[in-house]
């Protein structure tokens, strides 16, 4: 297992597309936070907690979605370039390969999540302080944003394992939360306001929610987080099952 973990880590850091995505994922919390914190007109009516959320949490969540794309590539690239055959010829026990990828990408999501949030925190705190704008540090959405980064990375990995080709899986991974859940959410709202709580990415984002007003139509932060975790576990499990039984 240790060999498989090392192999996956070497593979993760030796592909140029991955390095570019990591650089972008870490640049976003600096650049986006800087733009928001330095320019956004936070009026006197904005809560301190929401200033913190908009300037510091939101950019970290954007970085988390990029980690999800990296998760897709983690297995999709292997199928795209047929290196999965080389990988599985070297380690014919597919569970070992899949377990190693899950661990490596999960830890990678955690590391990027912590780094991204630290960068946006440092950038945001400096810029906001320079403008004399007060903000309130909220711990719960910070922890939630890091967890969301881990879950999105693993969700991407699971989706990549299910769909195999990144050219298909990456658009699905981005269109699902950004467009499909938006449209389905509108339809659901017209039927019953509380149905939106069942949309997986909507629930996942609740992890990093920083608004002051409490939305009673969605689950609490913890329940939403568990609900999205269940979705992530299900898609990873489906991916494992398919990789185990399909021809490589």
């Amino acid at each position: 297992m240790i060999g498989a973990l090392r192999a996956e880590w070497i593979k993760l850091r030796s592909v140029r597309a991955n390095i570019i995505l990591i650089v972008i994922a870490l640049a976003i919390p600096v650049v986006l936070t800087f733009l928001i914190a330095a320019i956004a007109p936070f009026g006197g009516t904005t809560f301190d907690r929401e200033v913190f959320g908009v300037a510091i949490i939101t950019p970290a969540v954007v970085a988390a979605y990029l980690c999800g794309v990296l998760g897709v590539l983690g297995i999709g690239q292997e199928y795209r370039h047929n290196t999965i055959r080389v990988t599985l010829a070297a380690q014919p026990n597919r569970s070992v390969v899949l377990a190693a990828k899950t661990v490596v990408y999960g830890l990678f999501g955690l590391a990027i999540g912590v780094l991204a949030l630290s960068l946006s925190f440092a950038t945001g705190a400096i810029c906001l302080a320079a403008r004399d704008i007060s903000f309130e540090v909220a711990i719960e959405p910070m922890i939630g944003a890091v967890l969301l980064c881990v879950l999105l990375t693993l969700f991407g990995f699971g989706l990549g394992a299910v769909m195999r080709q990144p050219a298909g899986a990456i658009p699905v991974f981005l269109i699902w939360p950004l467009i499909i859940e938006g449209i389905v959410g509108l339809i659901l709202q017209s039927i019953d306001e509380s149905l939106v709580r069942w949309l997986p990415f909507r629930a996942g984002q609740e992890l990093a929610n920083f608004t002051v007003a409490v939305d009673t139509e969605v689950f609490s932060r913890v329940v939403s987080g568990l609900y999205f975790t269940a979705w992530t576990a299900a898609i990873v499990a489906l991916g494992w099952w398919l990789v185990e039984r399909r021809d490589a």
């Binding site: 060999g3 498989a4 192999a7 592909v15 080389v86 599985l88 010829a89 070297a90 014919p92 039984r245």
Partner: protein, 303 residues
Amino acid sequence: MVIEARELTKRYGHRLAVDHLTFNVQPGVVTGFLGPNGSGKSTTMRLLLGLDRADSGSATFDGKPYRSYARPLEEVGALLDAGYVHPTRTGFEHLHALAASNRLPRRRVDEVLALVGLGEVGKKRVGTYSLGMKQRLGIAAAMLGNPRTLLFDEPANGLDPEGVRWIREFLKHLAREGRTVLVSSHQLAEMSQMADSLVVIGQGRLIEQCSVAEFVGRFANAWVRVVSPQMAVLSQLLGARGANLDFENPNTARVTGMSAREVGEIAAANGVVLHQLADTSGSLEEAYLQVTQPTVEYRGRPQ
């Protein structure tokens, strides 16, 4: 290590790619794996390695399925396709990840890169490699664990003449060391210089498994080439003893149905002068085409 395929069968949709295929590969010799395009050679290789699941039948290495080896690179090395690499990884990184997965020391990566002559370009991205360099990288990957058994699918593909000669000598050397070597190739002239034993398939079925000499002897015509200034006399003498003669020119004949030795003795006994007398064995190509003709799946039509 003995490779054994027993009644291997694989279907893709309605197409039967491998059909109750049974053969074995012994150590100490190079075994050539021959068959027309689409005959199931690559599929068979994937079935041996458990990459594709056989619908029925079994494939074993020393009696154990490939999947039961926890660190298989030390037992079996395979080159399936030189293109199975990520173009933005370096050759070194590609091998390093493989070595790590089997707990092989990092220095093996440098060793096998040097072994295949890629020592200089190991730190370059694979996307910049020529096909021949990718082949060498694939061979390096197969050699990482210094395995007792090697599977090579078209290893000479894309290599220049010097590279082709190198791979031929390399594979023969590996077999002489007592390893098991299974190699598929379309270059029949190469194969005849390198393989001792053959597994020939067509449309997923076994056509022949035997030694190269036996295969050529059985399926290619052998003849004796005779050059004599007294051909008229000689042809009557030989014809009377049951030989068949085809004339290339008035002084030169291809004799079938009689050995060179017999032709020489008859000529001497009758005082016929010979300028040339040679056994000409048929070629592997001739035997191969003879055997696989009915099974060829993709055939060009003469215009």
